[in-house]
Structure formats: structure tokens, C-alpha cells
Amino acid sequence: MVYAILLIYIAVVFLGSLRGAKQDATTPEGYFLANRSLGTLTLFFTILATNFSAFYFLGFAGEGYRVGYTYYVVMALGTGFAAFSFFLLGTKIWRLGKEHGHITPGELIYQRTGSNVLRWLYALVMILFTFPYLSLQIVGAGYILETITQQQIPYLWGATFLTLFTIAYVWIGGMRSVAKTDLKQGLLAIGLMLAAVLVITNSLGGLTNANEQVFALEPSLFNREGAGDKYPPQKWFSILIFWLFCIPMFPQIFMRFYVAKDLDKLKKSALLYGGIPLIISLFPVIIGVLGHLSFPGLEGKAADQILPMMLVEHSSEWFAALVLTGALAAFMSTLDSQLLALSTIVTRDFVLPFRKGLALSQQVKIGRICVILFAIIGLGIAARPFDTIFDMGKLAFSGLSMLFPVTLAVLYWKVVSPAWAVVAIIIGEVLLLAFYYEWLPNQLLLGFDAYLFAMIVVFIILGLGAVWGKPQKRGREIE
């Protein structure tokens, strides 16, 4: 039964990618941006699906288990606030993209500043800090397939299989098939998560009863600050604005701003994006919190598997397989978008400036080779995950958030010095890593998150550059 469900799912996704291939895969705009023609629902689900991933299914449940219900607010309200970035950055990015034919974030940076060095650094940061997040999807797929098949498919085999399958349909279909797949996978994931919560809470004697049992057992999971006082005021402040800075900097989200058919579609997608987390963020957190009733005492990375463990424990074999297939769908929908975004960046930002007049079909070909290469690197990281799903994600997101000040400046400021912007990004990233690896004492942060401190420094350097630096020129139009 488990294998039948998996096979049906794979066949449906694969056929979808073949349809996408027929429509778009002959031009970079078609292959990479679906000809800038996505409507509201497809656009919204492709943004949502690239965002709610292994981090959503396993990371939310794991962090719900470790921290409690306050994590729901962090993710629901925090990502809700992030919808504001669709207005702040998305509108201008969409408009400039349409006007100048941008496909990658780096092309926008180049067109606004005339600096290839800034463009390459910006693109490099995007690539490097996307890898931990990309590998999370592969880690998640490995965990799920291992649990769903009761160890018949070992972790690494499962991770490899899902990676190969994702490569295949991105290779064939490009953005249109990715977006169409995201729509199906997004709907499937949300529906199945709701069903999972209903089945698990029913098995535990109802939600109210189960929550009260957990409260009696572990009251700290019901604290506003979270278990272990994880979110005191400074952390709370930092984390609730964090998503506004980092989500639009995910390359796969940034490039989604280009693909909207018109501004109205972008606005409606933003509204949905701001609203939907109110509901869907709660599902995995509930399962994580209730996990204490069936599996008490899990620590660190072990808690990341609480969702599949609860499903296997509290539902029938076929239902667990169905829900976990939905989870796999979520991982793949993030992985495919990341692979496509990174391969586009390499092709357009690093190859095209040196190979002027490269045929469009050649660009698509190079993009496809990059998809394979990046998937293999992701698989390599996933072979030995270096942290919990939450912390691997947090590192990736913090690194990407250092690009926010530069993006805001190139879109709105009259003067941006490219040289100072390069220095600002490098210092921001170095500061971030210095706090992550504790080369600098965390007491310096006064309780706030490291990203906030580093981002303020980046803004200050950019401001100084605007006063004292050599102003930007406009770059040539992108081919």
C-alpha cells in the first residue's frame, strides 16, 4: 500500500512536468520564469510551496515539540508580516523585471548599480546560503521515506531517490512545471496536514483533552516565552521581524516576484500569503506539542522526526503513507524551486557575462547541468546533517537576510555606492558567522538575534557609502 501511494504520486507529478515541458522549455524566460504569466493562485501556491517545506512539516513539528505553542506565533504572525515585503520590494522588483527583462536577482542589482562585482557577490551569497536550506529538503525526504517504509528504504537511499526524481522533472519542465506542481503539492500538503491533526487528536481523545494532558505534563510548552525561556523580549522582537527581511531574499521567492502576470496578481498573492499562515502554521506545531504524550524525552535532532512518528503511532498504515507523501510533496516543491533558481543564477550571472550571445537553448542546457550539480551538493550535505532542521534553516535565512539592506537601497535610495555595498555584505556575513561560531561573545548582542546586529551594521555602511562613496551608474540592459 505504501509503495502504491508513492508510485501514484510520482506518476502524477511526472506527467505534470511533461505538460510543462511542451509549453515553455524553449526559451530562458519560458524555462526560468514561465513567461512572466502566472495567475494569482498558481503564483501564491508556488510561493507558499517553496516556503513551507521540510522546515514546515518536520521543522515546525520538531520546534513545537522542543519549544511549545509560542513557536506557532513566531511562524504564523512572523511570516504574515513578511507579506509586507511583497509591497516593499516585490512591486519594484516585478516592475523593473518586466521593464528590463531581468530573470535573476543579480541582473537587477547590475542594472541598478552597473557593478558586476556587487552582482556576483550578491549571487554568491544567495547560492551559498541556500545550500543548507536546500539540503534540508533532502534530509526531510530521507527521514520520511525511512519512517514510511519502516526502514526498508534507508535514510540515504530515500534522500538520493527523491533528489534524482526532482532533478528529472525540473530538467524536463522548468518553471511552468515547477509552478504547476507546486499548486498541486501545496493543496495536497495543506489538506493532508489538516487530516493528520484531526486523526491524531481524535486518537488522543480530542484536542482539548490532549492539550490539557500535555499542560499537566509539561506546562512550560504553554508559556508565551516558550520552554526554556526561548523567546524573551529581545528574541521575540528579533524573530517577529526576521521573516520580513529574509523571506524575500530566498532566491526562489525573489524570482517569484518576476513571474506575476500583473500587479493585481502579486497583490492578491501577498494577501493570501499574509493570511494563510494563521491556519496552516498551527497544524504541525499541534502535532509537535502533543508528541510529548506518546514520545516524551526526545532531544535535539531526534525531535525533528516527531511528525512521522506520531502518524505511524496514531493512524493506519495507508493514512500515514498518504500524509507523509504530502510531506514529500512539500519538500520536493521547495527543492525544485531552489534548484531552478540557483541554476538560473549561475547561468545568467556567472556564465552569460563572459559568453555574450550565448544561444537561448545553450542557457537552458547549462541551467539543467547546474540543477544536477547543485542537487548532488545538497545530497552531500544531507548525508550528514550538521544541526537540527530548525537551526540549519535559521543559519541559511540569517545569511540571506544580509542582502535585504542592499536590495532596499538599490530599489529606493538615490545614491548607492557599489564598492561600499560589497564591503557591507562581506562585513555583515562575517559578523553573522562570528556570532554563529561564537568567535564573538553573544553578550555583545544584548539578547537580540545576531542577524539584527549585523543588519544594522550593513545599513550603516551603506549609509556611509551613500555620503562618501562613489555613486552607482546604471548597468547595460540584460541580453
Binding site: L77, P233, K267
Partner: protein, 64 residues
Amino acid sequence: MKKRKAWYWWLAFIALFLLSQDYLFVQWSNGTSWLGFPTWLSWFMLLHLGFILVFYLFAKKYWE
């Protein structure tokens, strides 16, 4: 006129964000309420609904 309106919207969003900083004005008791969720959860859900409403109005009346 447009600039003045922009300030109103900025103020509305900043106010919503400040309302999410609950430690500034309330000390929640630790307990459960509807469906066994923590008592403070309803506050944040209502705040989220408030954000959706303000964002909707913003998208309709200001965002171009």
C-alpha cells in the same frame, strides 16, 4: 497627499507590530483556554486577523 497617506499606513503597520510585542503591556498567566490552547494564543490570532484586515485595506486603497 500621497506622502501623508503613506505615513498613516506606516503608523498602522508599526502599531500592529507593537501590539505583537505583548511583554510591553501584559503579563500572561500560564493556563489553557479554548480547545486547550494557551490563554495568550487567542490574542495573537486576533492580531493576525487585524493584520490581514489592515493589509487588505492597504492593498486596495494605497498599493499601486
